[in-house]
């Protein structure tokens, strides 16, 4: 069995979280968090995360602050980040990409496309990310 990538979903809407998990769980190890604080906590505890899929409009810490925090940390600054948001204006997209996001997807989404996008981002960031799933064996 080949190694699987760990995808971390950060999304405050429970139902969207469930849909994303269902869309991805066949191909990835999926862990989801309700807000960026929980997500940071999970990362800081040393849990393996290969790619982050995050919402922007969340209570406490919004997506942009989340990107900034991750990019400022020594350990996860290379972890690919994909934004999944209802904001579809180019100013927000530019701000996020400049902040350090690797790609930007707009809600509502097609589950197939989310999956394909994650694959694509992983492909082009291959040199900085290796699958790190603890559970999977080679």
């Amino acid at each position: 069995m080949e190694k699987r990538y760990n995808v971390m979903i950060v999304e405050d809407d429970a139902f969207i979280r469930k849909v994303l998990r269902q869309s991805l769980h066949q191909d990835f190890e999926v862990i989801s968090h309700i807000n960026a604080f929980e997500a940071m906590d999970w990362l800081e505890k040393g849990n393996p995360v290969d790619i982050i899929l995050t919402d922007l409009k969340m209570p406490f810490m919004n997506g942009q602050e989340f990107i900034r925090t991750i990019r400022a940390s020594a350990l996860f600054r290379k972890t690919p980040i994909i934004i999944l948001s209802t904001f579809d204006d180019s100013a927000t997209r530019i701000a996020c990409l400049e902040e350090g996001a690797d790609d930007y997807m707009i809600k509502p989404f097609n589950p197939m496309e989310v999956k394909a996008k994650i694959m694509a981002v992983l492909r082009r960031t291959e040199h900085r990310v290796k699958p790190s799933s603890a559970g999977a064996t080679e």
């Binding site: 269902q22 989404f109 589950p111 197939m112």
Partner: protein, 369 residues
């Protein structure tokens, strides 16, 4: 639109090189609500016109030493700051002058013939004053409309965003259902996605109804009247029929305001009914008080109820957001508090919430006097 025909002071700049003419003109035109500025030369007149943006009319003597009246007018009409000011030339009207006057055909320009006829002069100035007041009112209305448009733009943006959220879940779920084989959905998954999509559509439909209701209200609720807020709050408190264990109390005397009654009523109605609806204490109270803050009155609605959880406080004014701890079968769509926020903010105020499980909730909002 509000049509408060509030008469503004009308400022007239009188220009004549002879003091006695200035005094005579002022005496002739003297009236309540009129302010006169006097200049004895073209240069002085230009200086006043540039400095004072309240000037509504210039009575301009044509024959003056140095810069004559026509020259002053030409300069005024080329400057964007003074171009709009109405001018009445005071002139003896020689043949030559009649010809020059034609050059000023466009724009609010008129002339009075020397020697001045009191009645004609008064009547003409009255006409210009009325014109000025109408223009002023129009300008204010345009400003108000622009403000409302901006508000609306912001509102539409928030609404669009918040409508998208349940749709996102739904579209995702339906896509999964469509490809249930490749996503390996169990029959339980299928049931759940169908149920959830149905809930989301019901919710969306509720939101749309609430929005329609809101837009109907904002169209009809524009009139300003004298409102005794004490009476208003007492009446709302009575009509809420709070359970015996909950007391609605007013601390101090609430003021009488000239304002939009229905909007203020909507704010109090929402805050008071929420405070009563979610109250969980056997010995409950809801206190209403106020504080004078210059241009605004700040009203306070305080209860000793359950408080609003920290994680909800930030979102509670967002459109369609309802707190998770709402009691039982409450099907409020959550439009309430965000509309209160809009109502309070559209007149320049702020609505705030302080809340904790120990102390209950304290809502405060500013209302323009």
């Amino acid at each position: 639109m509000t049509s408060t025909l509030l008469k503004r002071p009308f400022t007239i700049l009188l220009v004549d090189d002879r003091e006695e003419n200035l005094l005579a003109l002022e005496e002739m035109l003297e009236q309540d609500g009129r302010i006169f500025i006097k200049a004895t030369s073209g240069n002085e007149a230009l200086r006043y016109a540039l400095k004072n943006d309240q000037i509504g009319l210039i009575m301009l003597d044509v024959q003056m030493p140095g810069m004559d009246g026509f020259e002053v007018a030409r300069l005024l009409k080329t400057n964007p700051k003074t171009r709009h000011i109405s001018i009445i030339f005071v002139t003896a009207i020689s043949k030559e002058e009649q010809y020059i006057l034609k050059g000023f055909d466009e724009g609010a320009v008129d002339y009075l013939q020397k020697p001045l006829d009191i009645n004609v002069t008064k009547a003409k100035v009255n006409v210009f004053e009325r014109l000025y007041q109408y223009q002023r009112e129009l300008k204010e209305t345009i400003g108000e409309v622009e403000k409302i448009n901006k508000q609306l733009e912001k509102f539409v943006y928030i609404v669009a965003h918040d409508l998208k959220s349940p749709l996102t879940g739904m579209i995702g779920a339906l896509s999964l259902l469509e490809q249930r084989e490749s996503f390996k959905l169990t029959p339980d998954d299928v049931d759940e996605y169908i149920r959830h999509s149905k809930d989301a559509s019901t919710y969306l439909s509720g939101m749309i109804n609430a929005l329609l209701d809101y837009s109907r209200k904002s169209i009809t609720q524009q009139s300003i009247e004298e409102v005794d807020t004490q009476e208003l709050v007492e009446q709302i408190a009575r009509l809420l029929f709070p359970p015996r264990r909950i007391k609605i109390r007013i601390n101090g005397r609430l003021p009488v305001l000239k304002t939009n009654k229905i909007k203020l009523q909507q704010v109090f109605q929402n805050l008071l009914s929420n405070a009563v609806k979610y109250h969980d204490k056997p010995d409950g109270y809801v206190d209403v008080s106020c504080q004078d803050n210059g241009d605004f009155i700040t009203f306070y609605v305080k209860d000793n109820g359950p408080g609003i959880p920290m994680e909800d406080q930030q979102n509670i004014f967002r459109l369609f957001q309802t707190s998770v701890n709402h009691s039982g079968a409450d099907t409020s769509t959550g439009v309430g508090l965000s509309i209160l926020k809009l109502i309070v903010e559209e007149q320049g105020g702020q609505i705030k919430l302080e809340s904790s499980p120990e102390n209950g909730s304290l809502f405060s909002f500013d209302w323009r006097k």
